[in-house]
Symmetry: C2
Subunit: 322 residues, 2 copies
């Protein structure tokens, strides 16, 4: 079994009218600065503030009544937590979420606001997946993984389906890569619909597990990365997502935290949208000229989330440049 | 002569493909906080950062070849300046703009960036309109007024046409009121298409010239207002716009600078869009409960612009509340 365009399309039908069809916006300033025609898919304007509701809701809508009765459990640095919490409320089940102690306050608050129970762990010392699996076994809840699951990937891929519908004839698709769920779904949709498209995932340079893995041809593990992009602090690509990224010929571009901060700033001041650091890594690659694509290319770029603490946003806006 | 729906529709045809059809977004947080269903028309995502390009371009596209050859002149606190400067570049004519010395740096920089010549005046001591009229007489340039002109009003009204198309069955239309150009155009479109709609303009409480004028039944003049909303620091309603606001039964709600700041903050952090203070006065009224409309009403609200200096945005994000 793998992931197909039909899976993504089925997810789109399931999610129709339940998630926001986010706008695709353009910005003359960004076009001038990058030399490309950039089409921003604004998943920062999505329900619960990121694309994560797509995968989570697709997964939860696929559960049996018996599974829904038992409830769900997830581990997440934040956005997946909110996605699962909101999806659980939407389908009428309960959610428990395992979050790192240093998760952004806004993400924690929102997850609780959707009614989920939050359990903390230490991101640098404990294995959140092991904790979640133990809790899943103890409580009988169904584990909703953040990326390594076909229903999750199919849901995330609906973002690319919409982007390709609203901005046809794209030359390039750009999206953040953490565990690879968003990219697995989006690259499957894009490679099927536009076989010649260039697909570029973006990682922070300290969170380059997928970059290294693609180079080596197998999954490698890195130490917990310190990047400001808290949503992609992943140490190894997904077992299921990684082969899909390879199959879809996704390349990886790397960006520094400084480039990410500059992109968040220019998105706020020039494109007038608030995007969290993780959500801005693609924009950082475009702005930094890190994409090996032709000048004038039509670049579809997923701004994956907008959940940023005010203090973090203020700190970034204070930065120099742009 | 007055302004009709047909004028607005003609402007829409003229502007088609030249200005951005800006998205209409929703935010569960804003719906919860306000008790309404709020549909934000994102003119902060418009070309040159505000709705002003609509009126300016409609006006410039209506000029004779001889008038275009002579060039145009405008007076503006900022957004109209950018709108005229960009419109002039788009139609291939030259623009001179009279701006206050204390105009936000970003607005000044952008106006020059579009190729306009900028002439300064002292907002508290000099009459910019008189200066612009003198310069118009001296240079032969065509004056493009910021609001008191039917072509300008018709262009601005296209924002409401789009909003009503994307968010049908609105109960209420809310937009900022400075000189009244945006509201004249938008209320004409809305009152024609939805005769029963409630139309509410919003002013800063220190810039309440239209509020007082509607109360008195004639145009009154106030001292230069100190509000943070620099785009609506107007001392008297337009001679042409005011009768149109009365005809269309526009009411006025007032908001404090503190409410405006809270709205800018909540728009950035909860709706994830960057809106300048002037552009957020409608949102401030919704958030402050200043609209005398039923709970659960469907409120279409124009976020009129997003041109804010980073320092001002940082200062507002630092504020308490929300």
């Amino acid at each position: 079994m793998s992931l197909t365009l039909d899976d993504v399309r089925a997810a789109a039908r399931r999610l129709d009218d339940r998630v926001t069809r986010t706008p695709v916006i353009t910005s003359p300033w960004w076009d001038d600065a990058s030399g490309h025609h950039v089409f921003f898919k604004c998943e920062n304007l999505q329900r619960a503030g990121s694309f994560k509701i797509r995968g989570a809701l697709n997964k939860l809508l696929s559960l049996t009544p018996e599974e829904r009765r038992r409830g769900v459990i997830a581990f997440s640095s934040g956005n997946h937590a909110q996605g699962v919490a909101l999806a659980a409320r939407m389908v009428g089940t309960s959610a428990m979420v395992v979050m790192p102690k240093d998760a952004p306050a806004l993400k924690l608050e929102a997850t609780r606001g959707y009614g989920a129970d939050v359990v903390f762990y230490d991101r640098l010392r404990e294995d959140r997946e092991a904790i979640a699996r133990r809790l899943a076994a103890e409580t009988g809840r169904v584990l909703v993984p953040p990326f390594d699951d076909y229903a999750i990937m199919a849901g995330q891929g609906t973002a690319a389906l919409e982007l390709l519908a609203d901005a046809p004839s794209l030359d390039v698709l750009v999206a953040p890569v953490g565990g690879g769920g968003l990219m697995a779904g989006c690259s499957t949709a894009a490679r099927s619909l536009l076989p010649g498209i260039t697909i570029i995932g973006v990682e922070a340079d300290t969170a380059n597990d997928t970059y290294l893995s693609l180079q080596k041809g197998e999954r490698v593990t890195i130490p917990p990365p310190p990047t400001i992009a808290d949503g992609i602090r992943v140490t190894t690509p997904g077992e299921l997502t990684f082969p899909i990224l390879r199959r879809n010929r996704a390349a990886i571009a790397l960006v520094t935290d400084e480039e990410i901060r500059a992109a968040v700033r220019a998105l706020a001041l020039r494109a007038r949208v608030v995007v969290e650091p993780t959500g801005a890594v693609g924009a950082a690659a475009v702005l930094g000229g890190n994409l090996a694509v032709e000048r004038g290319a039509r670049v579809g770029l997923i701004l994956s989330g907008g959940n940023i603490d005010p203090e973090a946003l203020i700190d970034i806006l204070k930065g120099s440049g742009t």
